[in-house]
């Protein structure tokens, strides 16, 4: 393998990891508040579809990005209504959101399948981008990748160094105590769910506007689910999300590596790698039950009953 190939693999790894990172950050915040939203895949699909459709019609990619975010938020409100207002089972509500999102995006996006769109262009930062190996991966990406870096910083600061972040964790760890000190559990959880929706919509829009500028049914191909696994992988710690997202990105571009090594394996078999990697990682991390208990938000997945 030569330097060029490694540079390109690192570049592709960051690109492929970006949608996972965006969605997983949203889900992490959501889970920190104690809400398990399994609807990431559906919100991503809707974000991808809406982003593409709006960008195609308006001719402006940034309108598309905005539409993706807003659509993700709207979708998450549906989940919020079921899981937070009606106290429905969170697992079932999340699944419903995914099934609904897949159906609705295929229905509304029907007219946009196969339409051409010029995707987001890279902002190459002069000088920095010519650093050997990592320059291209970090400084010759499209603006949404840079946005994911920024969001990573924001989420990191929010969770570990801000008062609202403390409130979020309090609600997730001990909702009853949070109520006792005068916090509104439902409101905090709604905000967290909304943020999760926005990030999932953004992650979806990244796919349809930058990663592969097109729309097709079910184009997210399980990335929403992988992002969920990523949160477990990271043991609900923000720093590890970054590592995990790029590792999974690497698993998804194994065909590039294989080509580089001159190995020929069926593309269908290679396509199973990110999913298998997810399972392997889940097995490695879940086998230590104490660890999960230690890091998972205490009230994760449990509905909160307001006491009169």
């Amino acid at each position: 393998m030569d330097i060029d190939l490694i540079t390109n693999i690192l570049f592709a790894m960051v690109r492929t990891g970006t949608p996972l990172l965006l969605v997983a950050m949203g889900e992490l915040i959501c889970e920190k508040s104690g809400v398990l939203n399994l609807g990431q895949e559906g919100m991503m699909l809707m974000g991808a579809m809406a982003g593409f459709a709006v960008a195609f019609v308006s001719g402006d990619l940034w309108f598309g990005v905005l539409a993706g975010i807003l659509t993700g938020m709207l979708m998450s409100l549906l989940f919020g209504f079921l899981a937070l207002n009606l106290n429905a089972n969170q697992v079932a509500s999340g699944l419903a959101l995914t099934i609904f999102g897949a159906g609705l995006s295929a229905y509304l996006g029907g007219d946009f399948v196969g339409k051409p769109l010029t995707g987001m262009e890279a902002w190459v930062i002069p000088g920095l981008s010519s650093i050997p190996l990592i320059g291209k991966a970090l400084f010759a990406q499209d603006p949404l990748v840079y946005l994911s870096f920024v969001m990573f910083g924001v989420v990191f600061f929010f969770v570990y160094h801000s008062r609202p972040g403390l409130i979020l964790k309090a609600v997730g760890e001990a909702p009853e105590s949070a109520v006792a000190v005068g916090l509104s559990v439902i409101r905090v959880r709604y905000l967290a769910v909304l943020f999760g929706g926005a990030m999932a919509g953004l992650g979806g829009a990244y796919l349809s506007l930058a990663y592969t500028p097109l729309w097709s049914d079910n184009m997210t191909a399980g990335r929403g689910w992988i992002a969920l696994a990523l949160v477990v992988f990271a043991s609900w710690r923000v720093g590890r999300l970054l590592l995990g997202a790029y590792l999974f990105g690497a698993a998804s571009i194994m065909h590039l590596v294989m080509q580089g090594l001159g190995v020929s394996v069926s593309s269908n078999l290679l396509a199973t790698l990110p999913y298998l990697a997810t399972i392997v990682v889940l097995v490695l991390l879940s086998s230590n039950q104490a660890r999960i208990k230690l890091f998972a938000p205490m009230s994760l997945g449990k509905p909160f009953h307001k006491t009169q």
Binding site: A96, I99, W225, L228, N268, L269, I279, V283
Partner: protein, 362 residues
């Protein structure tokens, strides 16, 4: 305040049964609204979607053809969900059943043996079981969340199936189409009525439902499954072997879904193709919930879901509506169901305009 929401002391049985009905009515209204938005006559739309597909005997037979795989998967899922095992992997288990079954069926291309068919069906069920055993073992021994593993395995199974039809199982005389050879007569499921496509798989599905009913309501193992689902610590104190039960329900679901897959390829399709299932395994999740995890309920719900599949095809042919409308209806239905289930645990009191109504403390 005009309405008052209060928590019931006990879940309402009536509402548990009424909620799916209410959800269906709401879905129909939403459907009518969607047709109206598409500038179609809503009544004609509903007629085309829900009545026209089953207006003749052929349509009814097709309803059975579509309902059979959904029902098989839902029967398996209902048992899993009863045990509080969140198996989302019926789709992958179905695909693996189709793949295993096809591989075995392709060994019998020249055969006329009567043993071929049972063997093919058995290998299909075995394929699904093997696939379901993975999340069971991972859950039992590594504490791995079965929702995520089963979903991941769905994607893996789909890619393995694609590998099969593009690679080793491709028909050598098939002009490079990603399809297997057509199965022989000996490995094709017999039809129930001459001239119609309704096949033995539909009977198998009904048998499976009866088996589920007997096991769940009449055997000790079924009792253990229900206890595990309702209160896992109670099951633990009672000395039930939780891991064995988890493995058991997943293996059962895998067998049912695998059977569904192999019945599809040896029944209505007749060969292995990339599109064995239009998402039957996912629809079966909705069916299981809509049917309240009850055998009779899931039979009715799977017929409804099959009708939605047929209706969306009919809507496309007759009215030029997008095929995706079917998937949308399924999602809407599940949403309404979850929302209506609120009424099982909560009561809405209409208080009129009077303000002197005593508020009941729950």
């Amino acid at each position: 305040m005009l309405v008052n929401v209060e928590r019931r002391a006990q879940g309402s049985r009536t509402m548990a049964y009424m909620s799916p009905v209410l959800a269906m009515v709401l879905t129909l209204f939403t459907g009518a609204l969607l047709f109206w938005i598409q500038e179609q006559n809503p009544l004609q739309g509903l007629y085309t979607f829900f009545i026209l597909p089953v207006a003749d005997l052929y349509g009814l037979s097709e309803l059975g053809v579509k309902a059979a795989p959904i029902l098989l998967c839902a029967a398996g899922l209902a048992v899993c969900f009863r045990a509080n095992v969140w198996n989302i992997g019926a789709e992958g288990q179905l695909l693996m059943g189709a793949l295993f079954g096809s591989w075995v069926a392709l060994q019998f291309l020249e055969s006329t043996s009567g043993w071929a068919m049972p063997l093919v069906l058995l290998s299909g069920a075995l394929g699904g079981m093997c696939w379901a055993a993975i999340p069971a073992i991972l859950k039992n021994h590594f504490n791995t969340n079965e929702i995520l593993t089963t979903i991941m395995l769905n994607y893996v199974a789909l890619n393995l199936l694609l590998f099969g039809v593009h690679g080793p199982l491709k028909d050598p005389d098939g002009f490079n189409f990603p399809e297997s050879a057509l199965f022989s007569e000996a490995t094709t499921l017999p039809v129930l009525i001459e001239g119609y496509r309704l096949h033995l798989g539909a009977l198998l599905a009904l048998l499976a439902v009866v088996a589920v009913w007997v096991v769940l309501s009449r055997t000790f193992i079924g009792f253990q499954i229900r206890v595990l689902g309702m209160d896992s610590s109670a099951a633990h104190y009672a000395g039930f072997r939780e891991k064995k039960l988890v493995l058991l329900v997943l293996l059962f679901c895998g067998a049912m879904a695998g059977l569904a897959g192999v019945s599809e390829v040896t029944g209505p399709i007749g060969q292995l193709v990339p599109t064995v299932s239009p998402g039957y395994g996912y629809s079966a999740i909705i069916v299981a919930f809509l049917g309240r995890l009850h055998p009779v309920g899931i039979v009715l719900a799977s017929l409804l879901m099959a009708l939605v599949y047929m209706g969306s095809e009919m809507g496309q042919i007759q009215m030029g509506l997008p095929l995706a409308l079917g998937g949308l209806f399924q999602g809407v239905l599940l949403f309404y169901l979850l929302a209506c289930d609120f009424l099982i645990m909560y009561r809405i009191r209409w208080q009129g305009f009077a303000s002197n109504v005593a508020t009941n403390e729950a």
